[in-house]
Symmetry: C3
Subunit: 366 residues, 3 copies
């Protein structure tokens, strides 16, 4: 058995994507020698892609060592750790709008971009691809539950107070209790998964290839990847202001498109690979399951954390975000309901994403 | 053959639920000796649960005696008699907001609470429960038609007049004609049921157990239950004001949650029993069918009646009610579309209901 | 082989509907002798029904001669030529509201009226009618993509600028780029159809009866029908003002109901005929496919054309139009998802259409 360090190295050098880790020291060097700038933002963003991927890989290895029950719990908890870490950094810097935008972006990105690309790439190679509709049902319903929790505070704010800017106690209470309900249902989902040995969000793991890492190297890898992610997330957020003015982006666009893309690159890769291997059920579960996890676990956890961080964040999303989330859920429900996809349906989902991206780019700062 | 009185007594003593009828004399005694109060409201509410159930039972017995054609008509007309009676009492006391809130509450309660509880209880006992998707299709479409009729007046009011408070003639005309269309389609649904011997809202009655009551005792029971319901509904509405201030509830919350729960307790019981017997198709039909009946028959009938009662009510629901109804219909369509349910999906529907209930509780009075 | 003129005559005299062509000279005579009036409007409207039908028939004949690839392209391009010609006439006369209203009306009319009538007529004759759900899936998704493109500009206008009246550059840019995306996906749909020999919008052509026209007479017929349509569209729009004031209609109602009915009469006839022959899949594809074609091809083409015509039109639909389009798509998705229809579901769709028509009639001019 190779040493822990050798095993870690094997995983890190196993994917060409990890070459992007070289951007991490560059971003730090730039940050400390010439201050924050667009280049700091870009290099930090690039380095976060493989770092987020390594957290996922380390979790996967740990989960396979831990057995199904604890493993499912690990996957469910650390599956979106990168998004969570980036969001906490943004929250600490009082960029609540960016946090909410990146939650939105992760949800619509997973649904439209990840699943759309999967349908397109898989469909070009295999033609019509079929899957069991039922397997995606539970995750879609979970996602919809989250949509309700995300929509109601905004509706109350808009109708009762005439604007989404107001921030009365009622909205905070509603956000708080809705977050508790979401986390409760998410916890029930974990129990469901343990009992039925079928994760309602992630589906069957399928046969994994290769030998899993030992426990120690896996924990070490998880620690290293988490530290890199935390540092680079901090740097990314520090360089946000110059990047916004330099690239002419709004906070909304930066959160919905840029930050969300960085945090979810790993999901993109896994889902598209699954689709190319003609495993559309898995691709659907990765994209819908990841969206649901963000909506049911990451978003409410951030609301509760925001109180601890002294920068309270409510679940009041703006009208664009709500429209985009609602329409994305409906689009995927529509595509998935007949149990088959083709490249044209993939292109249609990508078309929806592009229209959203254009709209988010053009929307003026309030 | 036992006497009519003995047969009635057999039905009344056949269910432990009917012990709650004892709350009826208590509520009347309190009302006449110490005036209206929270306790009058609570005892009246409790007594309405078995009274509404007895109307349903008597109708069922009559329907079985009357043969399928007349029986279907009886079930369709008296199936939600209790809701109608309570609503008329509220309408006569000029509580139009409570009436509309209780229509909303009956629709979302039947969809989320009744069906959610059915999925949860049935799923815990039987695991995955399957049913024929088609059987629920027609009722879901009917419900959606009603959603359109309930949404359009509010959209016109909001967009053309800038508020939901305005009450111009245009909205009254739209409400009136939409109600006529709804009742027309509901009537066509009855004809469809008679022709195909399959009620699009209620589904197959299944094999009923026990001997039905004779016609005379059934009519007597129906009369007695209706009188109790009418009296207690009157008492409930009289005690509404002190209950609202005493319990710190808004009219909206009282209507959506409290009144709706009281009027639909019988449906809850039947649907959950069906789910426990692994008859999910029946549970789905009871919940969706009852929602559709309220939206297509009770709501438009109340609009037409409101003119006769000199307290005109339009179909303009507020933004919270419309959001809740729309999202509930979508949630159930999503859960039911794959033809199977489990306890987690039930819990998810209950989670949506709880979030709505919290929101309706927190929404400030306008 | 009969002469070209004889072949054309055979097609024209083959349908009793073409008797309505006699309204064309009447409308011209009235227009030139007594000026514009309600009667000019009505006779022009009547003559457009068979003219639009003949464009469709000529295209069909040409397509059958041209082979599947070019034929599919012809059908896809000329399938809604009549709507396009009427819309261009309205656009040139600066009636952008009528154009957008007629796009709305074509979409909801095809979904609710055409498909509803098909379900109703087919269901009365055949009872329960079943079809392959998958065949309609792709068209429904395409339609939904268009809904997103039609909704986003209005949401941005409403939320960022507080009204749908404002006409800032941002909205024009969003409309323009969304139109490009729509046309791109529409083009991809054509490629998909050529490759799979299965048109995602129109479905299998089925066995056509009768000998197709020769190429020359078909082109001649297409030319004649297009000229009649262009002339009568011009006359119709000229007579719009007197018709509006004479009949007490708003521009909105005229566009959504009247103009849309005129332009889509041919689709109505084909779909209902298909339903009566128990080919519900074809009826569904005609109605959903025609809606999708209008939304993905006609609407964006008109946006791009509007710049060339010096009367720029954005994709900002009003709140009524968006609500109606969104609810119609949802209604058809709901009815079609279980793969069967009956006359009651047809009546329900018609009920939704009637409620929309009443609302559009009652909505006051802004």
């Amino acid at each position: 058995m190779p040493s822990a360090a050798a095993q870690m190295l094997r995983v890190i050098t196993g994917s060409a994507l990890n070459l992007l880790l070289l951007a991490a020291p560059v971003s730090l060097w730039l940050r400390w020698h010439s201050g924050v700038s667009i280049w700091v933002f870009l290099t930090a963003a690039i380095s976060l892609v493989p770092a987020a991927g390594l957290i996922g890989a380390a979790t996967e290895h740990l989960a396979r060592r831990a057995g199904p029950t604890l493993g499912g719990f690990l996957n469910a908890t650390f599956g979106n750790a990168a998004e969570l870490i980036i969001a906490i950094a943004a929250l600490r810097a009082h960029h609540a709008e960016v946090v909410k935008a990146s939650i939105t972006g992760s949800i619509i990105g997973n649904l439209l971009l990840v699943f759309g690309l999967s349908c397109y790439v898989g469909g070009l190679k295999h033609g019509r691809q079929t899957f069991n509709r039922v397997s995606a049902g539970s995750a879609t319903v979970m996602l919809f539950l989250a949509v309700v929790a995300l929509v109601m505070p905004a509706v109350v704010a808009l109708v009762s107070y005439g604007s989404l800017e107001a921030h009365p106690t009622v909205i905070d209470h509603l956000s708080f209790w809705s977050s508790i309900v979401l986390l409760g249902v998410y916890g029930a989902g974990l129990i469901f998964a343990f009992r039925s040995q079928r994760d309602p969000l992630r589906g069957d793991p399928g046969e994994e290839h290769g030998t899993p890492l030992g426990v120690a190297p896996a924990i070490a890898l998880l620690a290293v990847a988490t530290i890199i992610t935390a540092v680079e997330a901090e740097v990314l957020i520090q360089a946000l202001e110059p990047a916004l003015s330099g690239l002419g982006m709004s906070e909304l666009f930066a959160g919905v498109i840029v930050v969300a893309l960085v945090g979810n690159a790993a999901e993109h890769y896994s889902a598209v690979t699954a689709a190319r291997d003609n495993e559309m059920a898995l691709a659907l579960e990765i994209s819908v399951g990841s969206s649901a996890q963000i909506a049911l676990m990451v978003a409410p956890a951030l609301v509760l954390l925001s109180y601890a961080l002294g920068s309270p964040m409510s679940l009041v999303f703006n009208a664009f975000e709500i429209t985009a989330i609602g329409l994305s859920v409906f689009a995927v429900a529509l595509v998935a309901q007949d149990g088959e996809t083709n490249w044209l349906e993939g292109l249609q989902l990508l078309g929806v994403y592009v229209i959203f991206a254009i709209a988010f780019y053009l929307i003026p700062e309030p």
